[in-house]
Symmetry: C2
Subunit: 272 residues, 2 copies
């Protein structure tokens, strides 16, 4: 890495827990390759402390922006002054730009990143049936991008029926033609199975779905970064599924994260 000086622009990632994040490594490698005098550092912030920390970061004049991850993606929305692009409809933010006057502008790149990773694997998305475990910030973003990309139907599974319904309502407002239903733990009968919960990050976590419903021919995606092969992906491997790990969604958006924080336009997956 380049030496950090008093002129180095600051970026950070807010998360709780923090150890598993891989964004600083990938963003710093990109900044380094481009010769940009900026650095991204991890900040471990608990949910109750997020509002105060965001206010302080707003006032940190050499801060360019931040990446927001679990569990802050939805709670950070009302702490932004402005929301760009899909983030408002999605109701979640994973990247925030600090304007020179201190205004905080939020965006959501998880959906584009997830979709770009699927495209890189050559997975057909248009018309596909998708099983989505989770209804948090990342699940919202992924659902909206899949809907935009023309999937055929979506099943959402989550412990909280209220959160399933909230996500389904948001989706149906924007994509009224997309069939959305609440699912059980069984992912059988879907082309693409996605874990968008944080289950699998901690050792001993239960599986986010019933692995007995997985079979060859399915693509199984997990947004967990660490471990790289979660228990879900290990089960999917044993059953002959195609695997898509958490690094794919991150790799699919790292350049966009840097562009967003730097105030440049980001591209959409599927665009030229």
């Amino acid at each position: 890495m380049m030496p950090i000086s008093g002129n180095t622009a600051l970026m950070c990632i807010l998360a709780d827990p923090i150890g598993q994040v891989r964004t600083p490594q990938m963003v710093n490698a990109l900044l380094q390759a481009r010769g940009t005098d900026a650095v991204m550092v991890p900040m471990h912030v608990a949910p109750a402390d997020l509002p105060d920390v965001m206010q302080a970061l707003r006032r940190t004049r050499n801060l360019k922006g931040m990446v927001i991850t679990v569990p802050h993606k939805m709670s950070v929305v009302p702490l932004c002054d402005e929301i760009e692009g899909d983030a408002a409809a999605v109701g979640a933010v994973n990247v925030v730009r600090r304007e020179p006057d201190g205004r905080l502008v939020g965006g959501m790149l998880d959906g584009t990143g997830f979709l770009r990773g699927l495209e890189a694997l050559g997975v057909p998305v248009r018309g596909a049936s998708v099983y989505l475990a989770g209804a948090g910030g990342a699940a919202h973003a992924i659902a909206f991008s899949l809907a935009q990309a023309g999937i055929g139907r979506l099943t959402i599974a989550n412990r909280s029926r209220a959160r399933i319904d909230a996500l389904a309502r948001r989706l149906t407002e924007r994509y009224p033609a997309l069939p959305v239903s609440a699912g059980s733990a069984d992912p059988a009968g879907h082309d693409i199975v996605v874990n968008a919960t944080s289950l699998g990050m901690a050792p001993g976590d239960p599986l986010p779905l019933d692995a007995a419903g997985l079979s060859a021919g399915q693509v199984v995606a997990d947004i967990i970064m660490q471990p790289a092969e979660t228990a879900l992906l290990a089960q999917a491997r044993a059953r002959g599924c195609r695997l898509y790990g958490g690094a794919g969604m991150l790799e699919g958006q790292v350049a966009d994260m840097v562009a967003f924080i730097s105030g440049r336009a980001t591209s959409q997956a599927g665009e030229a």
Copy 2:
């Protein structure tokens, strides 16, 4: 530098302006040499924003501590929960440790660092007459350390007579035998001349004292980091004085900064 990961411990330096600081370079080089997984980054924070930023940093769980520099060294004192060592008597703090429970413990290492740099140059301190321009946080720390090291007399010059008197009162409480007087802009007749103001940092700054009073045989010290040779030092060089630049005070305390933030005991200049 080592790659920054989610497990990297965070340190920062708070300053306004920020570009001139050299502490991140020196601290990161030390951390790197020791194989410590930690990084120091600059944070540009205006005086009015310091209280909120300190509260937020208190809640940043992977933050180990921070270095405090101009203009925050005195105003940060009431924002700490505890003050260690000389910092309370000095009334200024330049390093803060964040305990695991979020408590902020302040310390002051400028005086020790300044004195250690003088010792490294072989400058006799005991019995010396010292002219000190400035009455801010760094000036307080330097004055206390010089008094502790047994200088013969101290002259303080500052635009604000009230600040001279405040520093003189603090010093006399602790070192009643030391003659302390308020000085003019003329540093003639002193063995050691110290600029502890921020004058010289910005192009076009006036000199902190009347350079016509400088002469060969004097040691002229400047705490400004950038430029390395300030206008004052250039004048002192032209007059044949011995020079002591801002890097000396920093080099004299970098290891102590890391030790303080890491919760280890620091040594005093002049101790074994």
